[in-house]
Structure formats: structure tokens, C-alpha cells
């Protein structure tokens, strides 16, 4: 017996099939944002000059960036990477029907790497290796 499901939805139902590329772009850009944050943090720990430059980036626009410190620049660069890549990828993929399963797997791997890189014992050790200490 077919069960009729009454499901309430916000907004009008999409009339056209939305390709998987739209989801792929959103996922990929979120992953890039998180990875950018992790990598920028790693290199600020490795190089004092880069750390100062990142702080300068934050001070360009963020209120209170002097008190927030280089964290303001890390947030800024992550935000640019996330939203900037989303704009580009959305335009590139919005009409492509991509396999969401593969996108999800790549996304989860990227998020796992980003999470590992922001764990302080990991990034501090890597920073020492990169800086050659």
C-alpha cells in the first residue's frame, strides 16, 4: 500500500531539476574555506613575518582587529577563500550534473584534514618542521 507523505516545505517547489553541480560547488567552497583557515594558521605558526602580514590583512577591515590579533586575518582569508571559491565554482558547475556521492567523500576527507591541522600538537609540530627548527 502506498503511503502518502504530507511533507511541509518552505518556499515554492523547484520546477526544474537542480543539477548536482550546485551542491558540489557549495561543498567544495566550504571545504576550501576550512582548509584555508587551517593552512594559514599553520604558516602563521611557522613564520613570524607571515603572521604579521595576516594580522595586517585583518586590520584592513575588521573592527577591533588590533585587539583580536592575527586571528582576524585568519578569519578574513578563510572567508575570502570560502565565498570567493563559492562564487567561481557555482558559476562553473551550476549546470553540470555531478555525482554528489563523490563530492561528499572528497568533502569529508578535506574536513578531516582541516580538523587535524587545527589540532595544536599537530600544527605546532608541522610548523617547526616547516620553519626548519
Amino acid at each position: 500500500m502506498n503511503e502518502r507523505r504530507d511533507v511541509e516545505v518552505i518556499g515554492r517547489p523547484a520546477r526544474e531539476w537542480v543539477p548536482g553541480g550546485v551542491a558540489a560547488a557549495a561543498l567544495a567552497s566550504a571545504m576550501f574555506g576550512m582548509l584555508t583557515l587551517a593552512v594559514v594558521n599553520l604558516f602563521t605558526a611557522a613564520f613570524a613575518g607571515f603572521n604579521a602580514w595576516v594580522h595586517w590583512v585583518g586590520k584592513l577591515w575588521m573592527p577591533g582587529a588590533d585587539g583580536i590579533g592575527p586571528y582576524s586575518g585568519k578569519e578574513t582569508l578563510a572567508l575570502i577563500a570560502w565565498l570567493g571559491s563559492w562564487a567561481v565554482l557555482h558559476l562553473a558547475f551550476r549546470k553540470k550534473d555531478m555525482k554528489i556521492s563523490r563530492c561528499l567523500i572528497v568533502f569529508l576527507i578535506g574536513v578531516g584534514i582541516a580538523t587535524t591541522l587545527v589540532w595544536p600538537p599537530v600544527f605546532e609540530h608541522l610548523a617547526e618542521l616547516i620553519a626548519g627548527h
Binding site: 518552505i10 561543498l27 586571528y71 587545527v118
Partner: protein, 201 residues
């Protein structure tokens, strides 16, 4: 005594006027309280008391919304969701709370890392270094992860609409986004609460 005069006195008070009276009384009491209550005693004497209260409040509300969203995300994952509109709404609300908690957290961070001996950061680095160097530093970044995750989930739920229900991998993706965001939220919330317990800003 005229009949007209009697009818005028017998009219009942309208519900609107009763509600207005209650609202004015409660509003007056609140205004009086806000104007005279010693909130510094309630929030604490630290300079970061106000941003700490706002950051904590938005994080707590986000946790509340995120928990309900997590359940609905699980229902979505298993293909048994009915309150899809609620999930769409909650994902948007959660993304907004994430943004607000991050903004207030940035404000609070100024007081956390103030270059004075009494700031929480200075205190931890001197007395219990792992609290800052490991736990707080991890919280700083995992808290930020919640924003792109929830914005992505809310976007997919809105853009695809009911097509989500017909595409299993899209359901799994949105459920994964919500689950991951909840994980990072709990990490950031727990570590933040612990830091506040150890040394308020």
C-alpha cells in the same frame, strides 16, 4: 438614572485594552529594572563581562536549535522526515546563530587575549599552559567551522527544496553537514564553558 448611562457602565473591557495594560506594566517593570539593576554584579566585574554574556547566550541558543536540527537531520538521513519546512527554518536559524556567536566571540577575544597579567590568556599561559595552547586554540578554529557547514546545509535545503527527499546522497550530505556542525559546536561550547569556569574574562 438613564438607561444609556447604565449601558455605558456595563460594557466589558476589551481584550486589547487588557493586553495593553499588562504589556505597559511589564514593560515599565523591565525598563525600571534595566535602568537600576547592578548588572555588573550579575555578569561579573571583568571588562569582558558583556561580550562574554552575549557570546555565551548566542552559543547556548545555537546549541538549543542545533540539537533539534540534529534530530531532524537524522530523520532526513533515514528518509523519514516530515517536518522538512522546520528543518529548512532551523538550518537557517542555526547558521545565523553561528554567525552571531562568532561575532560576539571576536569581541570577547579582545578581552581574553589582552596583554595584561590578569587576562585569561596570560593567566593560563603562566599557570596552566595546555588550557590555552591546546584547548582554547582548538576551540578558536572549530567554532569557525560551524559557519560554512550550516550555511551550506541551509543553502542546499533551500535551493533543492523537495528534491532533497528524492535524492538519497543529497539527504546524506545535508545530514552530514548538520552532524559535523553539531560536533564542532559541542566542542567549541564545551571548551568555552570550561574556560569561563577556570578564568572569566
Amino acid at each position: 438614572m438613564s438607561v444609556l448611562h447604565e449601558n455605558h457602565e456595563m460594557r466589558e473591557a476589551s481584550p486589547r485594552s487588557l493586553i495593553a495594560v499588562v504589556a505597559i506594566m511589564i514593560g515599565s517593570a523591565l525598563a525600571f529594572t534595566l535602568a537600576t539593576a547592578p548588572f555588573t554584579k550579575l555578569l561579573g566585574a571583568g571588562a569582558g563581562a558583556v561580550p562574554a554574556a552575549l557570546h555565551g547566550m548566542t552559543a547556548f541558543l545555537y546549541l538549543f536549535v542545533g540539537t533539534i536540527g540534529l534530530y531532524l537531520g537524522w530523520r532526513l538521513l533515514t528518509g523519514r522526515i516530515r517536518a522538512f519546512a522546520d528543518l529548512q527554518l532551523l538550518a537557517t536559524v542555526a547558521a545565523t546563530f553561528s554567525f552571531l556567536a562568532i561575532c560576539f566571540g571576536n569581541w570577547l577575544y579582545i578581552y581574553y587575549r589582552a596583554p595584561v597579567p590578569d587576562s585569561p590568556r596570560s593567566y593560563f599561559v603562566k599557570n596552566v599552559p595546555p588550557v590555552h595552547k591546546i584547548f582554547f586554540e582548538f576551540k578558536e578554529f572549530t567554532g569557525l567551522f560551524t559557519l560554512p557547514l550550516m550555511v551550506c546545509a541551509a543553502f542546499l535545503l533551500t535551493k533543492y527544496g523537495t528534491q532533497v527527499l528524492e535524492r538519497p546522497w543529497l539527504r546524506y550530505t545535508i545530514a552530514a553537514l548538520i552532524g559535523l556542525a553539531f560536533f564542532y559546536l559541542v566542542v567549541a561550547f564545551g571548551l568555552g564553558a570550561a574556560v569561563t569556569k577556570l578564568k572569566p574574562a
